[in-house]
């Protein structure tokens, strides 16, 4: 059987057009090549299932119902691929997209995005403090207060000993960048599904 757009039965074509319209929308966040790859695979699945079921609109309805709602099963796949891409490129744009799509893919994805997002907020804060220290050295940094407590942050009226001086700036920026890289590396390797090898290695004999 050829591609579904060439199927002569208009009812089947219409069903498939509706289904693959949903697939297109669900895959819209992926790069074009990856989206086409997933769609082609699903098309092949649907075509074969319809053919095995005898063709016709009823067979198409049954086959597509068996395949499932793309809006339900594709977000996990999309989030997984976007996380993997973010872990490869380390691009803030890819990371942001992966965080958003991962957060929309279910409760586990949302929890992951919130947790990782908090980590990125800390990384951003470290880098920001490091940069601010360069332009306004007084009141920004790590201070030992008179009470003995440690203060890290911005306060023009802070009373205490500046522990790192201007070194706070490169150290804070380096810490922020290191945290960003580490988080992105770990985020890119997180799978929405439990990884079989690690799962097995944790099992008790």
């Amino acid at each position: 059987m050829s591609r579904w757009t060439e199927i002569p039965d208009p009812d089947v074509r219409s069903l498939l057009a509706g289904y693959f319209g949903k697939v297109d929308r669900a895959l819209a966040s992926l790069p074009r090549v990856e989206a086409d790859e997933v769609k082609t695979e699903l098309e092949a699945h649907a075509m074969e299932a319809i053919s095995e079921a005898g063709g016709g609109a009823d067979a198409a309805r049954h086959a597509l119902a068996q395949l499932g709602d793309p809006e339900q099963f594709l977000p996990a796949l999309v989030a997984d691929r976007l996380r993997a891409r973010a872990g490869r490129t380390f691009s803030p744009a890819d990371v942001t997209l992966a965080l958003v799509r991962s957060g929309a893919s279910g409760m586990a994805g949302l929890a992951l995005s919130v947790l990782v997002g908090l980590g990125y907020a800390v990384a951003t804060l470290c880098i920001t403090l490091g940069i601010v220290k360069l332009f306004a050295p007084a009141g920004v940094g790590a201070y030992r207060l008179e009470s003995g407590a440690l203060f890290i942050g911005v306060d023009e009226n802070v009373q205490g000993v500046d522990l790192l001086g201007i070194w706070f700036s490169p150290l804070s920026i380096a810490a922020g960048v290191a945290l960003y890289v580490l988080l992105t590396w770990a985020f890119g390797r997180f799978s929405g599904r439990k990884r079989v090898p690690r799962g097995l290695s944790r099992m008790e004999d």
């Binding site: 699903l42 699945h45 395949l67 499932g68 099963f73 796949l77 997984d80 993997a84």
Partner: protein, 114 residues
């Protein structure tokens, strides 16, 4: 009571999907639809077939399978998955542990029936 057991069985079938998918691929390379048919025989209609694709994606990403595209003279190209050595090792280990677990649980069930 029968409904309770049926509910348990549905959950078992869903939860063993990754293991069953790996076991089906252990019989030889398969494309998505072929794997769905094999799993239907193994597990019944436990989950929508589309849920296989996120699973296959994670297998590929974890190095348990590799995929290759087969270009057909007519119809869309098909992606076939086959186990890697790592995938075979994981399947072998999972099978061993499954058998051990089954023996232990079966032993307990028999004792309680006596």
């Amino acid at each position: 009571m029968d409904e309770t057991v049926q509910d348990w069985e549905r959950r078992w079938r869903k939860s063993v999907l990754p293991f069953a998918a790996l076991a089906a691929l252990g019989q030889g390379p398969k494309h998505g639809y072929g794997l769905a048919v094999a799993l239907r025989d193994l597990l019944g209609a436990a989950a929508p077939e589309g849920t296989l694709y996120p699973l296959l994606n994670s297998f590929e990403r974890d190095g348990l399978t590799v995929a290759e595209w087969l270009i057909q003279e007519s119809g869309p190209a098909r992606k076939a998955y086959r186990l890697t050595q790592k995938g075979s090792d994981v399947l072998q280990e999972a099978t061993r542990r499954w058998s051990a677990f089954n023996n232990i649980l079966g032993g307990h069930a028999n004792v309680s029936l006596d």
